[in-house]
């Protein structure tokens, strides 16, 4: 496929804008402009493509573009900020699916001209279809887990890894055959390709179902990376550099986020992918708790402690997102600040279900981002903090991480137990996703504030006003 010089230059310009746009995401002040720049780059690339190609059927193409834009636009406008991980997950899936379909359409087109695929074309089509399809089905499973349609616990069955390995081996054989190295009986190329795609779909499902809900930040990041790699591979299929470049940028972004998430849990990518970590099956769930008692506090008591503190650090977790209590939290903290209390927020990298999930929720509730602090920035401050308010977080504040015997040993945590007192807003004493007990709940300076985060927070707002 020959691309005219004009279109090539437009693609080059787009590629530069993508890089500059991403660079502007380095600061919240320039980020919005950066995103718009990237959107402009996309528009330029699309227009250049339409101008450069002799379009045989405008109706179909225009209809496809309108339908896709409407669906995407509607989803983007109506989604709740708490549901952002699902949305990004499903968008990843569509991106991957699109790349796989590009490869499929190209294969069918070439077949219809009765030209055999060469080694190179066969290879790029196979890779593009494989990565794209795995991203597609894997993303749908991830979406199901985040939405609660599929169980958030790891789903495992005997010989699961063996099955995946066998399927992957079959993919390799079929893929090699697609490259024209050998023929499988008298099977037509399209049949081989269909089986190849079906197995890739299954492989995507098998790769994501054994991964638990709390590991979703890693999965979403990884699928994000795959969707980029799939686009790059599609770029190789049709010999288009703007696809290769943009796809590589996204692939790098996803991979970096994946590594950050793994580091934040002190686990390797292999452990996340194959460890089937967390959920009810964890054998360590029954440690301790027998004769320990946790002290509880009501809204009035919690309000008194918070209102007469000098410094308060809030640690939000997934429970805040589930209860959608971010606005009530902000109101409560506003009241404290009016009383002269210094309020900060400590964000653990894997709090929530995707990288930066808590930051988005707090931004939605108008919490200024300069009050949000990372693990490294705030951990030393806990020793000088009067009260820590943990809202729906558990594993990220579990001091067991410092115990070398624990399953979460070595995971970097927020050292909230160093504060003078800790109030933990949570529905029950039940373990967090790692499936282990949290000794923090039973410490002498800890108080449990039981209840749904939203109603508890509403009570807290009222009581702080009266305190």
């Amino acid at each position: 496929m020959d691309v005219s010089l004009g279109a090539e230059l437009a693609y080059l310009f787009s590629s530069v804008l993508f890089v500059v746009g991403l660079k502007r995401l380095q600061s919240p002040a320039t980020a919005r402009g950066g995103n718009r720049l990237a959107a402009l780059a996309m528009l330029i690339a699309i227009v250049a493509t339409l101008v450069d190609n002799q379009v045989l059927n405008w109706t179909g193409i225009a209809a496809g573009m309108v339908v896709g834009s409407l669906i995407g636009g509607l989803a983007a406008r109506t989604v709740k900020m708490t549901d952002m991980p699902q949305l990004v997950g499903i968008f990843n899936g569509f991106g991957g699916g699109a790349s796989a379909l590009v490869a499929a359409a190209e294969l069918v087109r070439v077949q219809s001209t009765n030209i055999d695929l060469g080694l190179g074309d066969g290879f790029t089509i196979a890779i593009s279809c494989l990565i794209g399809t795995v991203t597609f089905s894997g993303s749908f499973v991830a979406f199901g887990k985040l939405q609660g349609v599929v169980s958030g616990n790891p789903i495992t069955f005997p010989l699961q890894k063996t099955l995946s390995a066998l399927l992957f081996l079959t993919i390799l054989v079929l893929g090699t055959s697609m490259m024209g190295v050998f023929e499988i009986g008298a099977l037509p190329a399209l049949t081989v390709f269909s089986v190849f795609t079906a197995i890739a779909l299954l492989l995507g499902v098998l790769l994501v179902i054994p991964i638990g809900g709390a590991d979703m930040p890693v999965v979403i990041s990884l699928l994000n990376s795959y969707s980029g790699l799939a686009a790059s591979a599609a770029g190789f299929v049709i010999g288009n550099n703007v696809l290769i470049i943009s796809g590589a940028l996204v692939g790098a972004a996803g991979l970096i986020l994946t590594m950050i998430m793994c580091k934040a849990m002190n686990r390797s990518l292999a452990n996340v992918a194959f460890g089937a970590f967390g959920g009810e099956t964890s054998s360590a769930a029954q440690i301790g708790s027998g004769d320990q008692t946790a002290r509880s506090v009501d809204a009035e008591g919690a309000a008194m402690i918070l209102a007469y503190a000098q410094s308060v650090v809030v640690v939000p977790g997934y429970g805040l997102a589930v209860a959608q209590a971010q606005h009530e939290l902000r109101k409560a903290m506003d009241n404290l600040e009016e009383r002269g209390v210094d309020v900060k927020y400590a964000i653990h990298p894997v709090a929530g279900r995707m990288p930066g999930h808590m930051n988005v929720l707090l931004a939605e509730a108008d919490v200024p981002y300069d009050k949000l602090f990372d693990l490294d920035e705030i951990n030393e401050d806990f020793g000088r903090t009067d009260v820590v308010l943990v809202v729906g977080a558990n594993d990220v504040v579990n001091p067991e991480a410092h115990n070398p015997e624990s399953v979460i040993a070595g995971m970097p945590i927020l050292d909230v137990d160093k504060a003078k007192s800790v109030i933990i807003m949570k529905r029950s004493l039940s373990p967090g996703f790692a499936g282990i007990d949290n000794p923090l709940f039973y410490m002498g300076h800890s108080l449990m504030f039981f209840g749904d985060a939203k109603s508890s927070m509403t009570d807290l707002v009222r009581e702080v006003r009266e305190a």
Binding site: G21, G64, G68, G73, R77, A105, G356
Partner: protein, 92 residues
């Protein structure tokens, strides 16, 4: 083969560029980074358009148009939701 090797150069250099640029994005912006990057991966729409433009019937066209729909969901939805999020990030 020559074209593929050039493509490989482009791919590797773009990956390195991406790494340099993205490592410096602060954790606060990781969600918008992910959804924005996700929208960029919708660049597959260019591939879908190139393939679709060359055919006017049959299976290849159906596949091509399906690819356009999916990629456009990704592009429009991704950029819009990222914009919605970034609008909320403000300083004190």
């Amino acid at each position: 083969m020559g074209e593929m090797v050039v493509g490989l150069y482009v791919f590797v250099l773009a990956t390195l560029t991406g790494r340099e640029v993205i490592t410096k994005v602060p954790p606060t912006l990781h969600t918008p980074l992910m959804s924005g990057a996700n929208a960029i991966s919708g660049i597959a729409v260019v591939g879908a358009l190139v393939v679709s433009a060359q055919v006017d019937s049959g299976l290849a066209q159906i596949l091509g148009i399906a690819a356009i729909v999916m990629a456009m969901i990704n592009v429009v939805g991704g950029f819009m939701v990222t914009d919605r999020m970034l609008e909320m990030f403000k300083k004190n």
